[in-house]
């Protein structure tokens, strides 16, 4: 047991330092999170970011107020999706895939629908009250009257 305890201590101290090794990419992200225009959720940007992250990862299934969320993301490996993963979810592609593998196996919940066309994405978000999605900053010029920006990525 003594030997085991020494091993544990060594592992504890040597690996504790690794918790601080994660680094972040500093380049500006080209994305914005948009919602249905009838969505009345309002908060400071930090809270909105947390809310969006929890919804997109299905840690929460509804908006404050009880409206069920409908999630839309962009296709894997596109620049918008990568920026969204980095800036909003704070996850790498592999971490995102791993998260959904885990959730699927444990509860059967599936990842948000990926939409390629901005036009179709905006139509879907405009139609559904609890909808939330991701666009690029350039695509913000194409916003329809029933979609609004919740926040822009940094």
């Amino acid at each position: 047991m003594k030997q085991a305890n020494t091993t544990l201590k060594f592992l504890f101290y040597s690996l504790l330092g690794l918790t601080f090794l994660s680094s972040q990419n500093g380049s500006a992200a080209d994305c914005a999170v948009v919602v249905n225009a009838s969505n009345s959720y309002s908060a400071d940007e930090s809270s909105m970011r947390k809310q969006a992250k929890r919804l997109f990862l299905k840690e929460l299934m509804q908006w404050p107020g009880g409206t069920a969320s409908k999630l839309y993301v962009r296709e894997n490996s596109t620049p918008i999706h990568n920026d969204f993963l980095q800036d909003v979810l704070n996850k790498t592609d592999a971490e995102y895939a791993s998260h959904w593998l885990s959730v699927k196996q444990k509860t059967g919940e599936t990842p948000p629908r990926a939409v390629k066309s901005i036009k179709i994405l905006l139509r879907l978000i405009g139609k559904k009250e609890g909808a939330i999605g991701v666009i690029s900053k350039a695509e913000a010029a194409e916003l329809t009257e029933n979609v609004k920006i919740l926040f822009q990525c940094n």
Partner: protein, 431 residues
């Protein structure tokens, strides 16, 4: 000039005068007729002009309508984009479905089907003998159905061909494999979501204790054998891996700006091996913001059969997780206070390092004191690698040094300490 000539001249002049008069009359009548014809033409032209004006008005109206239509119609570029996406979708659906039959759920909003195949090769170098076996070939089918916005159902059924614990089957010194087919109902619950903070789950569920028991599925486990206190599959060494009953669960974000996640599970259930006894238990977990650190407290009280008698026990446990950047470290400790026989203790700590997106290395120290139901404590030191070429394929290689400490069995016969080295290669392929 003769009178005859005068007469001729007169006649000639008369003839000329008549001619001139005739011509004049002819010309006059012609101009009168021409004047009448012009009037008709003008009238006709006026009519035509009026018709043209009406036509122009009509055309102008149509032009305005067309203009409005064009303005309200999506641009060609936009239509192209939509058509491209629709074509892509159709092609994708066609590729997936083709001429095959389309599957429909009987009812409900949505049905998702998934599953995995898990295979393992295990080589054991025991104290007295060595054995090798392809000891696991498991297929599990997972089905999730959304009955409506609030109700859902989840099912996991297993078609398992696997060996039981090789050290129990043979002996401490000469491990042995068998191959048994089982098809258990692993999970079957329905869930009612009142809101994110309150869900009610009924049916057979994974007992909500700790970290790895709740992860459960090989597709996400670094080591599919799981820590010793969770073995055998479907057993209740410290607590049942699965229970049938009722569970309340939910999550809430608490603390400053709702930064921390508080999640809970409370359940009342039966263990399949002892259906007339109820277990009450629960777990509360707290995740500290984005730190990747989470801690959970577990309590339960129930009964199990030990040495042929029903034995009541109380369980407590703590689980601790760090999941940040490259580091993934899980630790759990569970202990029981048993009414009959010795108390039990299970503990493991499993630090893992993500080398990159595909490779991960981990170590696990794992100790089980099962209260004297087998001889001595069992300690495992495991080193393993995971390789995930894609998120739904996990290949593993593990090396385990297992020590079964000395002690007495129930008949007070002494057994010396024995060691075994175990190498396992496994793969889980999920869909």
């Amino acid at each position: 000039m003769s009178s005859n000539n005068k007469y001729k001249n007169f006649k000639f002049m008369q003839f000329i005068s008549l001619l001139v008069v005739s011509l004049g009359l002819a010309l006059c009548s012609q101009s009168i007729f021409a004047e009448e014809s012009d009037k008709e033409k003008i009238k006709l032209l006026e009519q035509r002009l009026e018709q043209s004006e009406q036509l122009l008005k009509k055309l102008s109206q149509q032009l305005t309508e067309l203009k409005n239509k064009v303005e309200n119609t999506p641009a060609l570029e936009e239509q192209d984009e939509r058509i491209t996406e629709l074509e892509d979708s159709v092609e994708e659906i066609d590729e997936k479905v083709g001429s095959r039959a389309v599957v429909h759920g009987f009812d409900g909003l949505k049905v998702d089907v998934g599953g995995f195949i898990h295979s393992a090769l295990t080589i054991i170098d025991g104290e007295n003998s060595s054995e090798a076996s392809f000891n696991r070939q498991n297929f599990e089918l997972l089905i999730k159905a959304d009955l409506n916005e609030d109700w859902s159902a989840f099912f996991a059924g297993g078609f398992l061909r696997e060996s039981d614990d090789p050290f129990i089957l043979g002996s401490r010194t000469s491990p042995s494999f068998n191959s048994v087919s089982k098809s258990p109902q692993i999970i079957a619950w329905t869930n009612y979501r009142y809101n994110d903070a309150l869900n009610v789950r009924m049916g057979r569920f994974i007992t909500p204790h700790g970290i790895i028991n709740q992860e459960h599925f090989p597709a996400i486990l670094l080591d599919p054998e799981q820590p010793q206190f969770l073995r055998p599959f479907g057993g209740d060494t410290l607590f049942p891996n699965f229970s049938t009953g009722l569970q309340l669960h939910g999550k809430r974000f608490v603390g400053k700006d709702g930064a921390n996640k508080l999640d809970y599970n409370i359940y009342a259930s039966n263990f399949a091996g002892l259906s007339n006894e109820t277990i009450f238990g629960g777990r509360a977990g707290l995740t500290f913001g984005d730190s990747g650190i989470a801690v959970g407290g577990n309590l339960a009280s129930g009964s199990r059969v030990r040495q042929g008698l029903i034995n009541d026990y109380d369980l407590w446990g703590i689980d601790f997780l760090i999941d940040k950047g490259r580091l993934l470290w899980k630790t759990e400790i569970f202990a029981t206070d048993e009414d009959a026989g010795k108390d039990r203790l299970g503990f493991y700590t499993q630090p893992a390092l993500r080398l990159n997106n595909q490779w991960l290395v981990f170590y696990r120290y794992d100790e089980l004191d099962n209260g004297g139901d087998t001889v001595g404590d069992s300690i495992e030191n495991m080193l393993g690698f995971n390789y995930t070429p894609s998120s739904n394929i996990r290949l593993r290689a593990t090396f385990t040094h297992k020590t079964m400490e000395s002690g007495f069995d129930r008949a007070a016969i002494f057994f010396p300490e024995v060691d075994a080295d175990i190498v396992q290669f496994s793969g889980t392929f999920s869909f």
